[in-house]
Symmetry: C2
């Protein structure tokens, strides 16, 4: 059984797993049909007997990564813990993080529910307030992607910036009276 689990043929699971490794190690650009074939000990054209095109393989890797991330986040209870787990995954697997969170999502190629499942832990953590969930997600994604892209100054204290942001989002109601 491959990591992907489902009832597909063993071979397709191996292909997706190999593609995941290629991306994890070298980024999206490292996923080429030739490299993928080589890793599996077959020639690139043979892959087309299992997948219609490269996009289909990539979509399966995205689904895999989404489930992977979701399973990490499920363990977290508080919003702070959630943020820690989120950042940790991104730093451990920057290329996979980018793949699943940047650029257009091939939604029509993704198994239903995968996207929602990845979002669920956060939605729950903010008590179902979707505006807050989206704002926190934007903050977390922004922090992570700017860090991965090296956009913060080398001497920036990112832990401190995270704390500042999380503190701002932590106090939900408790508004004094004005607008």
């Amino acid at each position: 059984m491959s990591v992907t689990g489902a009832g597909v043929s063993e071979r397709t699971g191996q292909i997706v797993d190999a593609a995941r490794v290629l991306i994890d190690e070298g980024g999206s650009a490292a996923l080429t049909m030739r490299a993928l074939g080589e890793r599996l000990g077959i020639r690139a054209p043979s892959l087309y007997k299992h997948f219609p095109d490269k996009g289909a393989v990539e979509a399966q890797v995205i689904a895999l990564a989404l489930r992977e991330l979701a399973s990490e986040l499920e363990r977290a209870g508080s919003l702070d813990a959630l943020a820690s787990a989120y950042r940790a995954y991104a730093l451990e697997h920057p290329h996979l993080y980018r793949l699943m969170n940047s650029g257009p999502l091939p939604r029509h190629l993704l198994p239903a529910g995968v996207e929602d499942a990845a979002a669920l832990p956060l939605v729950r953590a903010v008590g179902g307030d979707m505006d807050r969930a989206r704002a926190v997600w934007a903050f977390a994604h922004g922090m992570v992607i700017l860090e991965l892209d090296g956009r913060f100054p080398p001497d920036a204290d990112l832990d401190s910036a995270w704390r500042t942001g999380l503190k701002a989002f932590a106090v939900p109601a408790r508004r004094r009276s004005g607008a």
Copy 2:
């Protein structure tokens, strides 16, 4: 005089301007030496008399866009106005926004101070608190890039999510007592 201003030869300014248009209209991938030459009525190899390689051209476009964005932001007084201007620029020039805010920055090819100048309006708006500046930037960038990438559900009320986030960041001190 080209938009770039500086004392470079007229031709190099025209090249950068043309490259800016190419990216603005078709994204980073649309900037190819051939397309750039065609737009200027010359052949691609001729460009190498003005720039060492494609990366140098791209870096100048980034500098140009950074200054463009900075000049839009300078006009804004409040943090809310700043956020509006930021989002407006990103939605008007999504490809340029991506170019200057995603992926690694070729800092060694950028004129000194350009990056800081773009950040200055925000730093000022949060009273020089760098943690807060970084957190707000992450939030704003996250909102913008997730919107550009179509990651929010079609029915999501993004104005509302922005308000939620900005409200959270608006109240700086005023902490009751506990941790």
